[in-house]
């Protein structure tokens, strides 16, 4: 079950490379097509999931709480899909949450800037100078989006195992490089890395179940043992811990739940001013 995650500064370019790589290696392609199924499973509109991936939280737009829930559903489903098959994944922000998995090759594909500039200018009927401004704005938005959602800068090449710039290498050569790199022994699945992926998937599943009632939870899993962190007022601590244990304890794969409830200093301060 080898995994390749492809990210790009241009969604269509990333998708093209990912699909070609999947075909070349005979891996399954995992992309935004899966959002329809995720939306069905959680009775949420697919458009909301897409919005959560493409827009930042804003006063008039999607609320941060809703956006986090949408991203948690995507994260849960993507991790689940990566467990049992050879896959090339693109367009689901997996490079921001499939972390520390040694058999996962993460690739950043940088589109040819000149080509993107020309395409953008002709599609929108604007000058190259205006198109450049739009592209810069988009890149800066992606940086802010990834920092806000996952505390990682997705435009930073050091976050990836491999960075390919298409200004000098064509798409087919990029596919060849990626296909060859995944055959390196270091990207072979091993007991440790498979266990880490299972732990991530379990944590994501539990977080997804908890988020509706407890929007600020952090969940970590280790072989069926869960550590859940949350914040609450002092008087609510026990009740909160019990409620979390009741929900998490029912999820398949969970053997033991430990809840750490920290003091919610903001609510505490707000109450003391009343």
């Amino acid at each position: 079950m080898s995994i390749i995650i492809i990210s790009s500064d241009s969604y269509p370019v990333g998708r093209e490379i990912a699909m070609k790589t999947a075909k070349n290696l005979d891996y399954d392609f995992l992309g935004r097509e899966s959002l329809a199924q995720i939306a069905d499973n959680h009775t949420i509109e697919e458009s909301k999931l897409i919005k959560a991936m493409d827009d930042g939280p804003s006063f008039l737009g999607m609320k941060k709480r809703v956006r986090n829930r949408c991203l948690a559903y995507i994260q849960e489903a993507t991790l689940g899909a990566l467990i049992n098959a050879n896959r090339v994944c693109q367009g689901l922000a997996a490079h921001l949450y499939v972390l520390g998995i040694s058999h996962c090759l993460s690739v950043l594909v940088l589109a040819d800037p000149e080509q993107i500039l020309q395409q953008s200018a002709s599609n929108k009927g604007i000058s190259k100078k205006e198109a450049k401004k739009l592209i810069d704005r988009h890149n800066s938005f992606r940086r802010r989006w990834s920092m806000d959602a996952f505390d990682l800068d997705e435009t930073d090449p050091s976050q990836y195992d491999l960075t390919i710039s298409l200004s000098q290498i064509d798409a087919d050569e990029a596919v060849k490089i990626i296909s060859e790199t995944i055959t390196y022994r270091r990207f072979n699945p091993m007991t440790y890395s498979v266990k880490c992926l299972h732990d991530l998937e379990l944590a994501a599943r539990v977080r997804s179940a908890l988020l509706e009632s407890f929007p600020n939870v952090i969940v970590r899993a280790n072989s069926g043992t869960l550590v859940v962190e949350t914040a609450a007022l002092k008087r609510e601590k026990r009740k909160r811990a019990e409620a979390i244990k009741a929900v998490a304890g029912k999820i398949p794969g969970v053997e033991y739940v430990e809840v750490h409830v920290l003091n919610d200093i903001f609510r505490q301060a707000a109450e003391s001013f009343r």
Partner: protein
């Protein structure tokens, strides 16, 4: 190939060898346990083992050096790395240098038996580890 799998187990914590030796013997492994890497390396020079299970973090000689030593001596031997300090970079380094598998401590004896079963299969062992394991459950 012989019916028994020849296994060298190296860990500087005596409890590891004490617990794992009988667990591996149950599935048909002939296990030699070592706590000192230098002594284990000497033994590796004398005998070619089917499987080497080694801790990574040890004084003087670490598990990666043991892995390199085994690779120089025998391409056939399967080396399984075990460590309490598992990290992605270390796991990738071990795999790139030819480790067969990498397991994070703590683990259950069954986890190691499963990996040894996989190694035995690749070595063409006639011992049926799967059946033995199923019987135990």
């Amino acid at each position: 190939m012989a019916d028994q799998l020849e296994v060298l187990l190296l860990d500087d914590e005596p409890i590891v060898g004490k617990r794992l030796k009988p667990a591996l013997a149950k599935i048909g492994c002939n296990v030699e346990v070592f706590e000192e890497p230098a002594v284990a390396l000497k033994r590796l020079d004398e005998k070619t083992f089917d499987v080497v299970v080694t801790d990574i973090r040890m004084d003087d000689i670490d598990g990666i050096q043991v892995l390199e030593h085994v690779r120089e001596k025998s391409q056939r031997t399967k080396v399984i790395m075990i460590t309490g300090y598992a990290m992605m970079a270390l796991a990738r380094e071990a795999m790139e240098k030819g480790a067969f598998d990498f397991i994070a401590k703590p683990f259950k004896p069954d986890d190691l038996r499963r990996v040894i079963a996989k190694a035995a299969k690749e070595l063409g062992s006639s011992i049926n580890f799967e059946v033995e394991m199923e019987n135990e459950i």
